[in-house]
């Protein structure tokens, strides 16, 4: 497996977060500014430069026990300051399926 940090070209073009899945149950989590994880996108640390993104990712990857598959994901900061997912994939990860589950969750 190639470590995400070895992917030399970490370059972000807009506000981003670091996200992963929690090891014990797979829940989507976001790296916080307090060196921890949160299941809420609102708690995510926002990075705006490639260097900051790389540093946040490095810190996230170091927690191999707690989280799997950390990577940098784009977000959109709304006028009211709300953090929104930056693409459809992240929208689905954050908000859930775009379809109804066969049974009510």
């Amino acid at each position: 497996m190639t470590s995400p940090l070895e992917q030399k070209k970490i370059r972000i073009t807009g506000p981003s977060v670091v996200t992963a899945n929690r090891t014990r149950d797979g829940v989507v989590i976001y790296r916080t500014a307090q060196q921890g994880w949160s299941a809420q996108l609102a708690d995510a640390a926002i990075v705006r430069t490639s260097d900051d993104a790389r540093a946040l990712l490095a810190e996230a990857v170091a927690d191999d026990v707690g989280a799997i598959g950390a990577y940098i994901a784009p977000v959109e900061i709304k006028d009211n300051g709300v953090i929104a997912p930056g693409n459809l994939r992240e929208h689905i990860r954050s908000e859930g399926l775009t379809i109804e589950l066969p049974v009510s969750a």
Partner: protein, 551 residues
């Protein structure tokens, strides 16, 4: 049904305990994710967008009612109350917690089900015709051989770390319902001139980024030699299959790069060394496995019972019967397909409640047996014809009697971007919209047999290459686009579809499919000419013209 004995059960329990230890070491940090990943994959555990996904094997698509109830139990207790049947006779649960997985596996092991090798670079679930053992005209029950191969390839000490995954499918009928030509190894059971059972062996089929239809490597391998012959193929592949590039690691690429003759020669040389070994199956060994398959004690029943004659007056029943009920090898019995493709629903999903209902109906009407087909539907394989009306009422009540089997809304679809971390685009909402467009069963009946297959990415879990209409999700500048092919098929005349034109955005897919279907209705030379035959006769061009004329 195959009945596990003490040895099979012991192995399952040993496997569960091993995995329990591995999960414990992972959660304590003793195993890194890099080390743990292949271990979890070999136990059917993927990581998807929202959670872990857990894939359970249903070898050769045969389930007992007890086993189906255990799957319902897993759905309820450890997941969110439903499961998804896949194109390879597996079931997937989408919301499982790693910490609870060993318990889920232990519960399944109690009824003889496992998740061994449902992912990872090893031998996957051996699949077969979902009508095995009941289809009229079958050479013999292919599940005996499927089970022999299942055992032989389970925890194989030499082939658990192959260059890439490896899939075997077996059929014993003229009409291939197991899609053997798109498998790494396809086995067609037939008899030689001396009446001996053996296999035509095909190799190198597969979809994904570089699709290939399998080629015949040997026209007849005697049944007693099938393990040694498969072993020879695997040994050649294990040593020479590419490991430098994941997209070129499947056996199809090796077969393509060497050519079937050269590859066949390598296998033949290896086989000559292996054939007279402990791998040769003597009659006693085959008989041993055969003896643990039990068959129902069928009654002597009339071909046309009164119950059926009476029910024939109900057009709704008749429509379902004509669509979903198929001939059985025993007079007075039928095979009943249960559509898991309700209008507006996600293809292949069943709720825990539906699984329980089906298990009960199987007990009452099908000798406790259920089948799973690669089209993501279920079947009750031994239904007495007199019971069809009562069964239909019960199925209808549970939402399992949609009369669309093999029709345009009987769509095969992968989970797509709603669930899958590999996907580029969504599959399920496309399928749902199409089932709504073709919700009128009379129209669907008029269109006739038409398979639509949808994949959310190039890995082709929805087998889009072999759909009569294939839909492939791609990403273009952050938007979902879909490439559309026509003319593919997965049966004995397997072929890859041809791209019809430029990809279209999400919102236009259903319109394009409607246009293709309308073009077919206008172009077919008679109502008997199936979509796939019209495409074969006319090629893609007339369809392309009609679809893109206004776009």
């Amino acid at each position: 049904m195959y009945a596990y004995d003490e040895l099979d059960r012991t192995l399952l329990h040993e496997r569960v305990e091993e995995f329990r230890d591995q999960v414990k070491r992972r959660l304590s940090g003793e195993l890194t994710e890099d080390e743990f990943k292949i271990l979890r994959l070999q136990n059917g555990v993927y990581l998807q967008l929202h959670a872990y996904m857990f894939r359970v094997a249903i070898p050769y698509g045969t389930l007992s009612s007890k086993q189906l109830r255990a799957l319902a139990h897993v759905a309820r207790r450890y997941d969110r109350g439903y499961g998804h049947f896949t194109t390879r006779q597996n079931i997937q649960f989408n919301w499982i917690k790693l910490a609870e997985l060993p318990d889920a596996l232990a519960d399944l092991a109690e009824v003889g089900i496992h998740a061994m090798q449902t992912s990872g670079n090893n031998m996957r679930n051996v699949t077969s015709d979902q009508w095995a053992g009941v289809a009229p005209g079958e050479v013999e029950d292919p599940r005996i051989w499927s089970e022999l191969l299942r055992q032989h390839t389970t925890l194989h000490p030499e082939f658990s770390f192959l260059p890439r995954k490896f899939k075997i499918a077996i059929t014993a009928s003229e009409h291939d319902r197991a899609a053997i030509k798109i498998h790494d190894i396809g086995l067609r059971l037939h008899k030689n001139a001396d009446g001996e059972t053996g296999f035509e062996v095909l190799v190198g089929g597969g979809l994904g980024r570089t699709p290939f239809i399998a080629k015949t490597i040997k026209p007849f391998v005697h049944g007693r030699d099938i393990l040694s012959y498969v072993e020879a193929i695997l040994r050649v592949y294990n040593q020479y299959g590419r490991r430098d590039n994941i997209y070129k690691a499947r056996i199809k690429i090796l077969v393509h790069e060497l050519g079937i003759e050269k590859f066949g020669k390598e296998v033949e040389e290896e086989w000559q060394q292996l054939r007279d070994s402990a791998l040769t199956l003597d009659d006693a060994a085959i008989e041993e496995v055969r003896s643990r398959f039990s068959y129902p004690a069928y009654e002597k029943l009339p071909h046309m019972p009164d119950e059926l004659k009476q029910a024939a007056h109900d057009p709704v029943f008749e429509r379902w019967r004509k669509n979903s009920v198929f001939p059985h090898k025993v007079q007075g019995y039928s095979i009943v397909t249960l559509s898991l493709k309700p209008v507006g629903g996600p293809p292949g999903d069943a709720t825990a409640e539906q699984m329980d209902v089906i298990a009960d109906l199987a007990d009452r009407y099908s000798f406790g047996e259920i089948r799973v087909g690669h089209e993501q539907n279920l079947a009750l394989p031994h239904v007495a014809k007199r019971d069809l009306p009562a069964l239909w009422k019960a199925l209808d009540k549970a939402g399992l009697a949609t009369p669309n089997v093999n029709l345009v809304s009987d769509i095969i679809a992968c989970p797509g971007l709603d669930y899958c971390s590999l996907a580029n685009a969504r599959s399920i909402p496309i399928a749902q919209e199409l089932t709504r467009r073709f919700a009128n069963h009379d129209t669907a009946g008029l269109i006739g047999r038409l398979h639509i297959n949808i994949s959310g990415c190039i890995n082709a879990c929805g087998h889009h290459h072999v759909g009569h209409i294939g839909i492939l999700g791609v990403e273009k500048n952050g938007e979902e686009f879909y490439q559309i092919t026509i003319g593919g098929r997965a049966d004995e005349s397997a072929a890859l579809g041809t791209l019809i034109g430029p990809s279209v955005p999400y919102a236009e897919v259903a319109d394009v499919v409607e246009d293709i279907v309308e073009a077919y209705l206008a172009l077919r030379d008679s109502p008997d000419e199936l979509f796939i035959d019209t495409v074969k006769r006319l090629g893609v061009e007339p369809f392309r013209e009609r679809v893109y004329a206004t776009r």
